[in-house]
Every structure is written in structure tokens, then in C-alpha cells.
């Protein structure tokens, strides 16, 4: 009897230790990021497990592609050739527009974005936790991926990289409630912030004034504010605009353009500014001149105040 009681108290003690350890590890991982390096190496070591877990899906893909009939392949090939032809024609126009845009930006003395690097990646895993909208892609630190990189597809924005390991990285989808994207309405240029709703079918546009010019069917693009997402990438189409007397803001929902459930390939995207050093110095100069102007204004104000005080003192002395 004594032995069983002892063993039970021993279990309680062990459970206590394990729980404290779990909470401590959680706090260190989430709050202080002290375990980032350890996590990086351990997760990189677990990459084969992820690849192995994706193998049934990969096998299914290979089998389905192998089972396509000859006529289906010819039809697909024709369709792709047509698309390629059209896109080549579009790219000719795009080059002209790019050159024009560059010239105009130079005239306005604005920073020129020229080096847009894109990295092709394949989705190898979807987060098993149904409450987190994240996918794992097969590109990591070894390919130059870094945290915060925007991820796109041919249809629009997917999200951003939140966790990078040696051989793979995790992408937070735009439908996750933790993901907020600065957007702009293509038609009316109204700026807003979109947040994920937790559903793959819609995202929420937060704090839109009731008077804002946003209509159902409007295309929302990335506004470029914040510097994480490049400007002008399509995000979603407004699907619902509702007003309620009890709410100070309009209830706006939008349907993402990318079907995050079905996407297989993505592009990891990053921009670098040409002559970034010049731009940095220019920005600093502007800031400095602003500061100088502000300081001058303060000095003038102090001078005028001191002159007024003297005048008042003099008048009091005469009286």
C-alpha cells in the first residue's frame, strides 16, 4: 500500500516537473525567442520526416499525372502554348511600361525598384493544426529565404514567410487571423488593413469608415505600406459590404484570389532597391533638413516669446 502511494506521489511529482518544463519551453519559444537557434537545427534535422509525410500526396500527384491520356496531354500542351504566347505578347508591353515608369520615377526623384528576385518553391506540407493557416515550402535559409518575405502565386498574394529553416520554411497564409496586410482599393484608392478570418473563403477588412468608397466586386491590391509586401499585387475581391447602426465601421469581407487549399507552387519574392545607399542618404538628408526646420521654428518661437516678455516687463517698469 505504501509502495503504491509512494509511486503515485512520484507520478504527481514527475507530472509537475514535466508541466513546468512544458510551460517554460513555451514561454522561451514564444516570448523570448531564446530557443530560435536550437529550433532551427532541430527542425532542419526533421525535414526528412516532413518529406516522408508528404510522400503519399506526392505519389498521388505522380500517379495522376502518369495516368493522363495522350489526348489530354495534347490539349493541355496546346492550352499552355497559347497562354505562353499571350503572356510573351503582354511582357513586350510590360517592358515598355517598366522603362517609362523608371523614367518617370527618376524625374520625380523617387526610389527605383528594379531588382525583383523571385524564387520558385513547392508546397510540401500543410500545417496539421486546423486553427493555424500555414504551409511549408521546400526552400529555406540555404536558398536565401528570410523571415518576412512575401509569397505570391500567378493569381495573387499568398502570405509571408514566418519561419525559416535550413531546407524549408513556413508561410503564414493571408487567411490566418495573425496575418494583416495593408491593402488599397484599385477603383477608389481607399487604403485599409485586411486580416484573416480563419476561413479559407474570406478575409476581413478592418476599421473601414461607413462613408468609405468600397463596393462589392472591387479588387484589393497590396498598398506597399509597411514595406513588407510590394505594391500592386492582387489580394482579394470584395465580396460583402454591410452596414449596421450599432457598429461605427462598415463590415467588409473579401474573397482571396488564391485558393490556398489547392495551391501547389508558389513564388517567394523579394525586392532590392537600386542605389540603396544613395536612397538611404537622401532619406537621411530629408529627415535632417526637416529636423533643422523644426529646430529653427522652435528658436523663432522662443525669440518672439522672449521679445514679448521684455515688452511686457518694460511696460510694467514704466507704470
Amino acid at each position: 500500500m505504501k509502495n503504491s502511494d509512494q509511486s503515485h506521489s512520484y507520478v504527481h511529482f514527475r507530472f509537475g516537473i514535466v508541466i513546468i518544463l512544458s510551460l517554460a519551453v513555451m514561454a522561451l519559444d514564444v516570448r523570448s525567442k531564446l530557443l530560435n537557434d536550437i529550433r532551427f537545427y532541430l527542425e532542419s534535422a526533421l525535414y526528412p520526416v516532413l518529406v516522408f509525410a508528404d510522400s503519399p500526396h506526392a505519389v498521388g500527384r505522380v500517379v495522376s499525372s502518369q495516368l493522363k491520356t495522350h489526348s489530354e496531354l495534347i490539349k493541355e500542351n496546346e492550352q499552355l502554348s497559347t497562354e505562353n504566347f499571350m503572356q510573351r505578347a503582354d511582357s513586350l508591353k510590360l517592358k515598355d511600361l517598366e522603362a517609362e515608369n523608371k523614367a518617370l520615377r527618376q524625374l520625380l526623384n523617387s526610389p527605383i525598384r528594379t531588382k525583383n528576385k523571385r524564387l520558385f518553391a513547392e508546397v510540401i506540407d500543410v500545417d496539421p493544426d486546423p486553427y493555424l493557416h500555414r504551409v511549408t515550402v521546400n526552400r529555406g535559409a540555404s536558398d536565401g529565404v528570410h523571415e518576412g518575405m512575401p509569397v505570391i502565386t500567378d493569381k495573387g498574394l499568398v502570405g509571408q514567410v514566418i519561419n525559416v529553416n535550413y531546407a524549408f520554411s513556413r508561410v503564414l497564409l493571408l487567411t490566418d487571423p495573425n496575418c494583416s496586410i495593408p491593402v488599397v482599393d484599385e477603383r477608389s484608392n481607399v487604403r485599409a488593413i485586411s486580416s484573416g478570418s480563419g476561413s479559407h473563403d474570406d478575409i476581413i477588412i478592418n476599421n473601414v469608415p461607413r462613408s468609405a468608397d468600397i463596393k462589392k466586386g472591387d479588387l484589393l491590391l497590396t498598398s506597399g505600406i509597411g514595406g513588407v509586401y510590394p505594391r500592386g499585387y492582387p489580394v482579394a475581391i470584395v465580396s460583402k459590404v454591410g452596414f449596421s447602426d450599432s457598429q461605427p465601421f462598415a463590415e467588409v469581407k473579401a474573397k482571396p484570389l488564391v485558393d490556398t487549399d489547392k495551391m501547389r507552387f508558389v513564388l517567394m519574392y523579394w525586392t532590392s532597391l537600386e542605389n540603396s545607399e544613395d536612397i538611404k542618404s537622401l532619406a537621411k538628408e530629408q529627415t535632417d533638413s526637416k529636423v533643422i526646420l523644426h529646430q529653427r521654428k522652435i528658436k523663432d518661437l522662443i525669440k518672439t516669446l522672449s521679445v514679448k516678455d521684455r515688452v511686457v516687463d518694460n511696460s510694467e517698469g514704466q507704470q
Binding site: S22, M26, V30, P128, L132, N163
Partner: protein
Amino acid sequence: MINSKENRKSPAVVLVPMLLLSLFIQLVRLPAVVSENRPDLLILVILFFSMNSKFTYKLEVSWLVGIILDLASGAPLGINAFVICSQIYIISTQFKNFAKYAIYQQSIIIGLVNLIVTVLGYWIEHIIGQSYYEINFVIPSIVTALFWPIIFLTCTLLCATFSVSSDKENENKIN
């Protein structure tokens, strides 16, 4: 007969492959509807061995398995370890005659404990800043409970096939 009992193997012979298989099923890419209601097979496997054999370090093994799941799934480190450990602890300490219950009673207990601990886990996740927004806790717990007879039978069969020692045999040996 005595010799055959003495030659019984350690539970690890079945436990380790079953844990790896369960981990694989937990991580494998499935359609969204199935993925949302995936059973917690890791808990069921650990629970079977913690009830049916001299599995001394069940809490430590649960914790380690939970940490591996956290690392592989990208969840906050420690959250799955906490959830798995808590369930094993609650069932093994609060239901001392769990092994003697009928399978359907065991399923009900597993479902309820799984539901409570999952809610607790999401509560902790919310506190540490990982927000949640759906209340789909019930169906995964029901699925986990429904999978218990399958895991129970599979593990019993595997233990018999690989001659893994059980509690009853060990008790008989001592007596």
C-alpha cells in the same frame, strides 16, 4: 511455457514503430475536412502501453513525443507535449481501474479527457499569443474516442504477435 513467458520482449518493440506510424499520420497531408477532425493517435498509442504494460516512463515519453510533434508541425514548443502528458496523467491517476473498464467506457473517458485537455491547450495557446477562432473541439475528440477500439485491438494483436510482456504476466511472475 515458463520459458516462453521469460522470453517475452520489451513493449518498446511495438511502441516505437507504432509511435512513428502515429506521428506520420499526425503529419501527413490530408484533405481539409479530414485534417480538421484528425484523431490524436499518439495519445491513444501511449495510453494503451501505459495501461497494459510496465511502462515506467510514460510521462517522459509523452513529453518527448509531444516536443517532436511540436517541432515537426511548427507549433509553439511545448504545447503538444503539455496536451499529451496531461491526458496520460489524468487517465492514469484519476481512473485507476481504467484497464478493467469495457471498451466503450474507456472510449467515453478518452473522449471527455481529450476534449477537456484540448480546450485547456487552446486556452494556453491563446494566452501566449497564438489566437484561435473556431470551436471545433468536439468532433476531433469524438473521432479520437471512436478510434480507441481500433488502436486497442491493433496494439493487442501486435503485442501478441511480437510476444510483448504485459502487466498480468509480470504480476504472475512476482507472485
